[in-house]
């Protein structure tokens, strides 16, 4: 099967009320396709983290999920502000989240680690003042 778009969803900055919606819709779509639970779970975790990152840290963005016979590819693109120090952002426990966000149980600096851990391939392209694109691949 050639790669095709399974889902595309716009996500607004600070929209906690819709946090998890994209991941829920994706999970349902994967269930309908009969995707194995172990794969679906990994894809859901990765997408949830990307979704919350857009809500918490970005000026807004979108998530597109592609599927082929070999893999699922999750791409999160945002409108900025970009990550100043990617290496630091990837350190477990490091986060730029404010106290309000932390009190909600986010911003503990585990999100990017989760994405890395649950995907087979993970890349970050970022430019300060521009935006960031996260791509995670989960192989079947």
């Amino acid at each position: 099967m050639r790669e095709q778009v399974l889902l595309q969803s716009k996500i607004a900055q600070g929209d906690f009320s819709r946090g998890g919606e994209t991941s829920s819709n994706l999970k349902e779509a994967l269930r309908k396709l009969g995707i194995k639970l172990t794969i679906s779970r990994r894809v859901t975790i990765v997408t949830y983290e990307m979704e919350m990152n857009i809500i918490i840290h970005s000026l807004g963005g979108q998530i597109t999920v592609y599927i082929s016979s070999e893999q699922i590819r999750v791409v999160a693109e945002d409108l900025g502000p970009g990550i100043a120090d990617v290496e630091r952002a990837l350190q477990p426990g490091y986060s730029t989240a404010d106290d309000y966000v932390r009190a909600l149980g986010f911003g503990a600096g585990m999100g990017l680690n989760n994405i890395k851990h649950y995907s087979d391939h993970f890349t970050i392209e970022t430019e300060e003042g521009k935006g960031t694109t996260f791509t995670a691949i989960i192989n079947f």
Binding site: F16, S23, S24, F106
Partner: protein, 108 residues
């Protein structure tokens, strides 16, 4: 054990539900990334968080019920959403430790 029986046995407040679910295992945590990664389907999830994103995480992980300990407050919008999505939310004045002791005694 199922959720209804647990509510009766421990005298938990039902904030949303009870929706019929069997319980298998427990996860305790307040950091949502950890809960996403570690909580298993049919677990009881014990937390102090009571906001709407808890419902999203509970639904994604398919936990049997969320138990909010120490009578932490629940957002109205979280309760509405939990009812819509048929997510069990229970509450108790017990601390997480006191609750876990009781759950162990019940064989969960």
């Amino acid at each position: 054990m199922n959720v209804t029986k647990l509510v009766e046995t421990l005298g938990l407040d039902v904030v949303s539900g009870p929706f019929e679910r069997e319980i298998a295992g427990v996860y305790v945590g307040d950091l949502l990334s950890n809960v996403m990664a570690k909580a298993e389907r049919d677990n009881l999830w014990i937390t102090i968080q009571g906001h709407q994103n808890v419902v999203a995480v509970a639904s994604l992980t398919e936990v049997a019920a969320v138990i909010v300990v120490e009578d932490f407050e629940l957002e109205e919008v979280a309760i509405e959403r939990a009812q819509e999505r048929q997510v069990n939310i229970l509450r108790t004045p017990l601390t997480a430790y006191e609750l876990v002791k009781k759950l162990i005694n019940l064989g969960i």
